[in-house]
């Protein structure tokens, strides 16, 4: 059985020292081993940005796509081979700005993949511009007088879009993050995991200390029930979205694959492509 070391390769990430993404990478590797995956049964699909490089840093099948499109690529991979475990990942700009259309639709489509967002509230690779997760007043190169646009409450949005698994975590909490990713992989449907992963170079507001001070663990809320969507929404709103843990999970709703009419139980990539002549003639006759 594979251990987390089997999911490592020798490539040195080009992330800045202290970047939160290192821990996210480690958590994915540990979670993959903990749920019993082998590297060749995992596909990590990523977008563009600092965090998008992650597909090259994990030893598994990896697909580094184009900006904002990790989700449609990942959904295509899963539809082609339902035997694979598919993780999509990228940053908050990738997923919630250029790729937001796909994020909302992936949520409501509910294909069984896990989406891990490394959320640092800023654009790092382009050297510090505002992101849709930046708070009002946040000063960046592109908002020198402070951002005037509202930040997206992504967890709340996911709930209203029909999400079946919504979780949030913090990159320093390696143990909790690992277990949330495991739960996401095991969830039968689309799982969204937003991870606060501080940018030590460009974001001087939302720092490690800032998150430690502001994040409320759901485990500290008495009688919190992650199967209660209303409670999930209320808790998020009361805490301005700054909670961590599994916020909501619907364990009943079947995944897209289980609902799609006629969709093969056997991985499509392993099915026979050939048609019998008899079947072909039948199809032709329908046009006669």
């Amino acid at each position: 059985m594979a251990t987390f070391k089997d999911f490592r390769n020798s490539i040195k990430p080009n992330w800045c020292p202290g970047c939160g993404d290192f821990s996210v990478q480690a958590a994915i590797q540990r979670a993959a081993a903990n749920v019993g995956l082998e590297p060749d049964n995992l596909a990590v699909v990523s977008g563009i940005g600092c965090s998008g490089r992650i597909s090259g840093y994990i030893k598994s099948y990896g697909f580094h796509g184009i900006h904002g499109r990790s989700l449609p690529i990942a959904q295509g991979v899963k539809m082609a081979n339902r035997d694979l475990t598919v993780i999509a990942s990228g940053g908050d700009g990738d997923g919630f700005a250029i790729g937001m259309g796909h994020t909302v639709h992936a949520i409501r489509r509910n294909i069984d993949i896990t989406y891990i967002v490394m959320d640092n509230q800023i654009y790092g690779l382009t050297k510090g511009q505002t992101s849709p997760r930046s708070e009002v007043g946040f000063k960046t190169k592109s908002t020198p007088e402070g951002s005037v646009e509202s930040a997206i409450g992504i967890m709340e949005l996911a709930l209203t879009a029909g999400a079946t698994f919504v979780a949030q975590s913090f990159s320093t909490d390696l143990k909790e993050l690992t277990s949330i990713i495991e739960a996401g992989i095991n969830h039968k449907g689309f799982s969204l995991i937003n991870v606060f992963s501080p940018c030590v170079t460009y974001n001087k507001v939302n720092t490690y200390d800032w998150f430690k001070e502001h994040l409320v663990p759901l485990s500290s809320i008495e009688n919190y029930d992650s199967s209660n969507r209303m409670m999930a929404m209320q808790t998020l709103m009361e805490n301005k979205g700054l909670v961590k843990g599994i916020i909501y999970q619907d364990k009943v709703k079947p995944s897209y694959q289980d609902l799609a009419h006629g969709y093969s139980k056997k991985a499509l990539a392993k099915t026979d492509l050939n048609l019998s002549e008899e079947k072909f003639n039948e199809l032709m006759t329908e046009f006669m």
Binding site: I66, R69, L84, M288
Partner: protein
């Protein structure tokens, strides 16, 4: 007795104009006639003039005709808009409901038949179409029973009573016409057809059928005119083979999802038209860079922007060849008939996998939507070739990370391809420049090697009949050149030009990119004048010819971009002007 006839039905969109044409054409197709139809329609569901022009012939035909023999009108507008197309002595049959009139001075015969009234008496005015079909068969001298089979199929689910009523409507329409005309009128009786069974289908049907036969098991697409029929067919059929279709949120998702699924080993396609293709351009580059096979259908329509969404045009050519930033290997193929569209759909899948690059299957609205008779397709020509897809167990690799050399530099530029899930096949795929295992690399020497490798893949592209050549002249006065649906109209113009003393050859280009220069050069060299017939305003194919072959002074353009397909007479007339 005549060998061909042109018939048109018109009215307001949404009142069954299409189905009237459909039933008429299906019945004649069953009798063994060759049908070719052209739908004039607008981008709206109800209202607005629409018509369906159908050519019936005892021999194969792939073009609409210059004139019209019979016009069926459900409103006066239909007559006003279309009466000028009628030949001398042509017939107009209008619904008495609107007191049809024809302009003075025209030699046409007008019959007023109470389509709506007869239908209402039988139970529902919806059957007015059947009454009109009945009147048509009286003109043609076709027995009413010719429609029985088709009517039974269409209305079978609604029960025998409905079938009976519809047949009665046809009978009444025929009876009423015969009463008015006092018996058969001359000049409209078709010679008997060969009675052979043929399909009656649109180009999009043929493409979709080709995809099913060619092993497509997944599709991701966004609805758009005139491509949606491909998606609709696969939605209906793929579940029978375990496959499925996802209607995505946009064309960017459609194309990237198709890339993801092809990467993971399933033949997956997407189809769209100009606006969708514009959105897919970045993804096409990803397919080229990551060497993931991809087939995209572009059913050209009137551009730019939303343009003329329901009209004929061929103006995406340059965008399909050059679209996407940077330089990638790409194949653009352009079938010229519905039959070819089927075989090319299968072949596009093979080429995409063999050369591991994007393939654009280009059609135009008239080829995609023009419904016509098609000879049965040859299943023995359907083969599935997956190129260098590895289907055997892989040995351990010598890479220090155990990565497979997915982008191994090879002589033909094509590398072995493994799909996720395979042991010892792990590799990285990225749109960033990469080394042989797919790891990002900016090393100059590697960059050059990988660019050269990708771009040499198509140097030896094997392609079946890149140019359809017609005409045997060694020194033609005119070489007519076209692509996609203009083939039929050019074929029809040729003998007319020959009859006027011109020596004419025809080259229809099926492989647009990489351009078949070796095939085209001798044809152009030998001709006095080259006339490129295309439905766009800037002469895109002519530019491509000039770029690849030269001979600028003898290459002339015959263009039409008003949204309608060429008529044979237009080609003849303009060729004479250009020579």
């Amino acid at each position: 007795m005549i060998d061909q006839l042109s018939w048109k039905v018109g009215g307001q969109q949404g009142e069954g104009i299409d189905s009237t044409g459909e039933i008429f054409a299906m019945a004649l197709n069953r009798l063994g006639y060759y049908l070719y139809s052209y739908r004039h329609f607008s981008s709206r569901i109800k209202g607005g003039h629409t018509n369906n022009k159908i050519r019936v012939s005892t021999s194969e035909t792939r073009s609409i005709s210059d004139d019209l023999d019979i016009l069926i009108a459900f409103d006066q507008e239909t007559i006003d808009v279309n009466v000028h197309e009628l030949r001398d002595g042509g017939v107009v049959i209008g619904d008495s409901k609107f007191n049809p009139t024809v302009p003075e001075g025209l030699n046409v015969r007008l019959y007023s038949v109470p389509f709506t009234e007869i239908a209402s008496e039988l139970g529902t005015s919806l059957m007015k179409n059947m009454v009109a079909i009945g009147a048509t068969s009286a003109v043609l001298g076709l027995p009413v029973e010719s429609y029985l089979e088709v009517v039974e199929e269409i209305f079978a689910r609604k029960g025998a009573k409905v079938v009976e009523k519809n047949m009665e409507a046809i009978q009444k329409g025929a009876d009423h016409f015969n009463e008015l005309s006092g018996g058969q009128i001359d000049g409209f009786q078709l010679n008997k057809a060969d009675g052979k069974k043929r399909m009656f289908m649109i180009g999009n049907d043929a493409i979709a059928l080709g995809f099913v036969a060619g092993g497509v098991r997944f599709m991701a697409a966004y609805p758009i005119t005139p491509a949606s029929e491909i998606m609709e067919y696969l939605i209906k059929k793929l579940p029978e083979f375990g496959g499925t279709v996802i209607q995505t949120e946009d064309e960017i998702a459609a194309c990237t999802m198709a890339i993801g699924a092809n990467y993971a080993g399933v033949r997956t396609i997407t189809s769209s038209a100009g606006p969708g293709l514009s959105l897919m351009m970045e993804a096409l580059g990803l397919s080229g860079m990551t060497e993931v096979p991809l087939v995209v259908v572009d059913t050209q329509r009137g551009g730019p922007s939303t343009g003329l969404p329901t009209k004929q045009e061929q103006s995406d050519l340059m965008a399909m060849i050059y679209g996407t930033h940077g330089e990638i290997p790409k194949v653009v193929m352009a079938p010229s008939t519905v039959e070819e569209a089927f075989y090319d759909a299968v072949e596009a899948l093979n080429i995409a996998e063999e050369y591991q690059c994007p393939v654009i299957l280009l059609t135009d609205l008239q080829l995609s939507l023009g419904k016509q008779s098609v000879e049965p397709l040859d299943f023995s020509r359907v083969e599935i070739r997956r190129g260098k897809l590895v289907d055997q167990e892989l040995p351990d690799t010598d890479d220090k990370d155990g990565y497979f050399k997915r982008y191994e530099v090879t002589e033909d530029g094509i590398s072995p391809r493994v799909i996720p899930g395979m042991k010892n096949g792990i590799h990285h795929v990225t749109g960033v420049e990469h080394d042989e295992t797919g790891k990002p690399s900016e090393v100059a020497a590697n960059r050059q090697k990988q660019m050269d490798k990708r771009l040499r893949k198509l140097k030896n592209l094997r392609f079946n009949v890149p140019v359809v050549k017609q005409g045997q002249h060694t020194d033609p006065d005119i070489l007519l050149v076209g692509f996609n649906s203009t083939r039929g109209v050019i074929e029809e113009a040729m003998p007319r030009l020959e009859a006027e003393g011109f020596k004419v050859n025809h080259a229809h280009i099926r492989l647009i990119h990489p351009f078949p220069t070796d095939e085209m050069k001798p044809l152009i060299d030998s001709a006095k004048t080259v006339i490129v017939v295309e439905n766009n305003a800037t002469g895109q194919l002519a530019s491509i010819l000039k770029m690849n072959v030269g001979q600028h002074e003898k290459i002339k353009s015959l263009l039409k971009y008003d949204g309608n397909p060429f008529l044979p007479s237009e080609v003849v007339m303009k060729c004479k002007e250009l020579v």
